[in-house]
Amino acid sequence: MIELKHINKSYDGHITALEDINLTIQDGEIFGIIGQSGAGKSTLIRCINMLEPPTSGEVLINGKDMTKLSQKELREERKHIGMIFQHFNLLSSRTVWQNVAFPLELAKVPKAEQEKKIAAILELVGLTEYRDKYPAQLSGGQKQRVGIARAIVSDPEVLLSDEATSALDPETVKSILQLLKRINKKLGITIIMITHQMEVIKQIADRVAVIEKGKIIEESSVVDLFTNPKTETSRKFIGSVISNELPEGLSHMNITKERQHPEDLTALRLSFRGDVADEPIVANLIRKYDLDVSILYGNIDYIHGVPFGKLIVTIAGAEENIRAGLSHLDNLPIESEVIGYVPSHN
């Protein structure tokens, strides 16, 4: 378990990079920290392995306070914390094999044992046939695989990921994330990842903290963050993955904020998650409230297997039926919002 308690970090005594950070990360989970550049996430992840010691506060890894260790003890402790980087940071003078051997050499692991471990790890990351290549001969994705192999070859309990997928193309991002997930499941390594890409959080994180201006402004499970974001920043991040804007095709329908004409149709946005997605919401509106419902746009996404849907519909019918229908929706565990009115002559 990793606990960050009241972490503060300031430079030159007055520039505050982190302010009273409190986080608890459980063994075996993938914990994401998302924030814009300059939010302090790089500093935060470097506090965990003390590459940037916090100005005050405690960093407890399995109860041991990293901030109280001597340089020598700290180096020993770091051997149990792997780290991967945005720009891979591989030694250009070493082959793939020799790069992965690097941490084992530092720990003075016997040669025979080194060879066994490196061979197994290269197999796991799928780079066996690239063992004698130099980093300059590899693609970005392959370089990051070497970075991952190097970070986990010494059997760490924790893997810190510093924007590990930010320099990669979307296809490669996917395969690297799958690899990280596999490592997390297969080897039980706790992963703490910082990123500015919500897609990354959505794909593999279990829990997430949103950091802004050096403070954690929101912390929850990924499913909760997506379905019920509490801050504007979180909403923006989610918007980058699941658009909250009206789909482009709807813009020509002249949806207006105010009702222009009594005949205008009411446009609704319905957001729902989990089991509610199975409920016949639309059918009920039609049957029980005698409304005409037509679907303009629909989308269901899955986050960790939980369905998360969005529907944009127009409803038409008698004034009191519309009101009754809307209040029925309000009583359901879904979010509904009147987004405007559509001229009926369309």
Binding site: K79, I81, M83, F85, H87, N89, S92, F102, L106, A107
Partner: protein
């Protein structure tokens, strides 16, 4: 060219190679570690120690700012102390080495600074000691640049060694001055220049070859 001149040329070539070999070797042995020290002991370095770094950097700058011919004469007492004499080829090696060391150190310092800081951070994150970072990151990663540095140092030393005649150091440059210039023997002058050009070309060729071989980027 008479056999006498040919013999003189060979003798001078031997002296030049002797001066170059010894001074370049010592310059490398002292200058490379000094260059590394300049990087690691500066503020924010992996063995930060400004109290050591600042004076060291100052001394390096002072020696570098003295023109070689003046340095050679100015350190005669030191030369006598080290070489036992202040005249002759061996004596010339002392000022040549002393001039080459700070030059090597500054160039090595620059090559090490060019190593991306992320590599050092990565090594630190794996629990590397400062000494391990020097041996396993700095030196191998900067090796191509260090080889190129030594090539430049040797070529520069050839130029400086021409002035060694001032203190009776001999060598090709001295031969060219005494026979080619002062005695108007144009053939000696031309022969000397040809030999010097060949040496410089050869050193540059070997240096570039080795650097390219070491460079895996």
């Amino acid at each position: 060219m008479s056999p006498v001149i040919t013999n003189l040329l060979l003798k001078s070539l031997g002296e030049t190679l002797y001066m170059l070999g010894v001074s370049a070797l010592i310059a490398a042995l002292v200058g490379i570690p000094l260059g590394i020290l300049l990087v690691v002991t500066e503020k924010g370095g992996i063995l930060a120690c400004p109290a050591f770094n600042k004076p060291l950097s100052f001394v390096v700058n002072v020696v570098r700012s003295i023109p070689f011919i003046i340095l050679m004469v100015a350190i005669i007492p030191l030369t006598r102390l080290i070489a036992g004499t202040s005249i002759g080829t061996t004596a010339a090696i002392v000022p040549l080495t002393i001039a080459a060391i700070p030059y090597t150190a500054r160039m090595v310092e620059t090559s090490i600074r060019e190593i991306p800081s992320g590599l050092i951070e990565a090594a630190e994150s794996m629990g590397a000691t400062p000494l391990q970072i020097i041996w396993k990151v700095f030196i191998p990663e900067a090796l191509p640049a260090i080889i190129e540095t030594m090539t430049v140092v040797i070529v520069t030393l050839i130029g400086s060694s021409a002035m060694a005649g001032t203190i009776g150091g001999g060598g090709l440059g001295d031969l060219a001055i005494r026979y080619g210039y002062q005695r108007f023997q144009a053939d000696v002058m031309i022969a000397t220049i040809v030999v010097l050009v060949v040496i410089v070309q050869a050193i540059q060729f070997i240096g570039s070859r080795l650097a390219r071989k070491a460079d895996k980027r």
